[in-house]
């Protein structure tokens, strides 16, 4: 299991007995089985094996979430596994269909670039004014079509809000993983004004995309191109773009998370995450703090990997709109003051039921959305071991 951001021995969790845990986990077993299998169990032995491993992996993690009352460490285990196997699956796929990770001009002209959710904010203004999606992808066909990604994003926004960033994003697991490696942060003080940077990136990306009718964030600064796909270096301009995104990947996804124990890419740079914060306002789930239980120890403020807990927000009784609902604060509190909350209900009542409601929604989304990539990634690793090639 993943290390917690700040392990605490004497924290309060809604621990359940084995019997109750099984009872609460049973609906998830059924739902994940239906969603992952699509009503058809794979017949091929290797596929069946991979399906079984993935199914067990998710359901054991969910069972442990219920049984231990802890959320973050089990979520992170699934989330990081997802990110790693997504990369394995994606890169292998790119090599299979293109022979390399690089994109040629031909593929861009043919609109064969997989669409990713990070592009969504940039497409909105041009789509409103020109009725055009400014991305060289396919609307309904291909590996990751624009329509499917929009549908998934809308669904996730309605059900999880910015919880997407801790339960759905296939990149978020990377800086989450690096933020857990060291026991203590090397950089402790970060000027809170940096938390405005994602909004500035969002504003800059949306305005420049509208001006140039081009997904400027993707073309110039998306760090995750380093582990997915990028344009073949055929000009000075593309060389500069390549240097920028590789440098940003190293800085924001590896070095800074390591040194700060925070998810710096997600909380200090990602424009999609900033926009997704707005959906937290309309989402049913939130993290709230029971003022009667809070002893103002500030452990949640120190532990929050996304800068979403501040002294002011704790005083105000909840997390900021940037909260990714990872559950770290809920797990780390010695008095159980923070909890997953359903809007419109009293903070101090039925905490366990509200936590379960959130976990059913979030975990089912994670399991359903990631299962395909995890199974494909596992299959390719098995293929690598048995044949020497992932393709």
């Amino acid at each position: 299991m993943m290390k917690e951001h700040h392990p605490q021995e004497n924290t309060v969790g809604d621990r359940q007995s084995l019997g109750k845990s099984f009872l609460f986990a049973f609906p998830m077993m059924l739902l994940t089985f239906i969603m992952m299998s699509g009503g058809k169990i794979p017949a091929e032995p290797q596929k069946l094996f991979v399906f079984a491993v993935t199914y067990l992996f998710f359901n054991i993690l969910f069972f442990l979430m219920i049984h231990t009352g802890k959320t973050d460490r089990y979520r992170a285990t699934a989330f990081i596994t997802y990110a790693l196997l997504f990369i394995v699956s994606f890169i292998s796929h790119m090599f299979e269909v293109r022979g390399s990770m690089s994109l040629s001009e031909e593929k861009i002209i043919l609109c064969e670039v997989p669409f990713c959710h990070l592009v969504i904010p940039m497409t909105l203004i041009p789509a409103a004014f020109t009725r055009t999606i400014i991305f060289p992808g396919s609307i309904t066909e291909g590996y990751a079509s624009i329509a499917s990604m929009f549908a998934i994003w809308i669904g996730a926004s309605l059900s999880l809000g910015r919880g997407w960033c801790s339960w759905g994003c296939f990149f978020g697991g990377l800086d989450d993983a690096f933020s857990r490696i060291l026991k203590k942060p090397l950089i402790k003080k970060i000027d809170p004004r940096w938390t405005y940077l994602p909004w500035a990136v969002l504003l800059a990306a949306m305005l420049t995309a509208a001006a140039f009718l081009s997904p400027t964030y993707c073309s110039w600064i998306c760090p995750f191109k380093a582990v997915t796909e990028f344009q073949a270096v055929t000009s000075f301009k593309i060389l500069v773009q390549t240097i920028i995104f590789v440098a940003l990947f190293i800085a924001l996804v590896i070095v800074l998370p390591l040194m700060t124990k925070r998810r710096t890419q997600c909380s200090l740079f990602c424009p999609f995450g900033a926009m997704q914060g707005l959906t937290n306002r309309i989402n049913a789930f939130a993290v709230r703090i029971d003022p009667d239980k809070c002893i103002n120890c500030k452990k949640c403020v120190t532990a929050c990997p996304t800068f979403s807990m501040t002294e002011e927000s704790v005083q105000a009784g909840g997390a900021l709109t940037s909260c990714m609902k990872c559950g770290t604060c809920v797990d780390v509190c010695p008095k159980g003051a923070p909890s997953f909350h359903v809007r419109g209900t009293p903070v101090d009542e039925n905490r366990n039921i509200k936590r379960l409601l959130f976990l059913y929604a979030a975990f089912l989304f994670l399991a359903t959305f990631s299962a395909g990539n995890i199974q494909d990634g596992l299959s390719r690793i098995i293929r690598l071991i048995t044949t020497g090639s992932m393709i």
């Binding site: 500035a200 504003l203 305005l207 420049t208 400027t216 000075f236 301009k237 920028i244």
Partner: protein, 210 residues
Amino acid sequence: MRGFLLGLSSGTVCAAYCAPVLVPYLLGEGRGVLKNFSALTQFLLGRLLGYLSFAVFAWGIHVSLPQDITKQNLLIGAAYLILAGLLIYYSFFKAGRACPQAGGQGTGHRLRDPRSSFFLLSLGLVTGLNLCPPFLLAVATASQQATLAQSILFFLTFFIGTSVFLIPAPLLGLLRGFPPLHVIGKMAAGLIGAYYFFIGATMLAGGFYL
């Protein structure tokens, strides 16, 4: 009339080109609607100055400069670099505002002070020289005008047509009660400045080596 209609029909594109410069500035300054109108007027005057200088230029050459890709790259690249410099400077500018007595009264100081008309005029002027697609159309049409007066009139009416779409921009002043937006505006100006810098640098490189 042709200039006005051309401006009106392509004004959204012009607004999209001006927005990356204007929106971060207005947010970063965090002033009220009326003061934003004054800032917009100064910005538009700068843009008009850019347009009119092109009117003279377009009439003078009687050829369409934008058809020469190498020269076009050099010109737009240089404009982007200046714009990048102004935006990055604005983003990192701190001194002089809190204490107006700190600076001098010379031209240099007025250019450095982001609230001075000079700074806004410069932003408008360089944005006006950015050769966005509608502007290229206007230059091509103006180069066919018989007299200088006709060329200037064409650009003036084109300018009025495009400016209509920027009128709502001062309403950003309604958000001034939200202090984080001032920081966000300045950060965005720096990021857009950096973006323009890379665009300008690569265009200049392309212009020199094509």
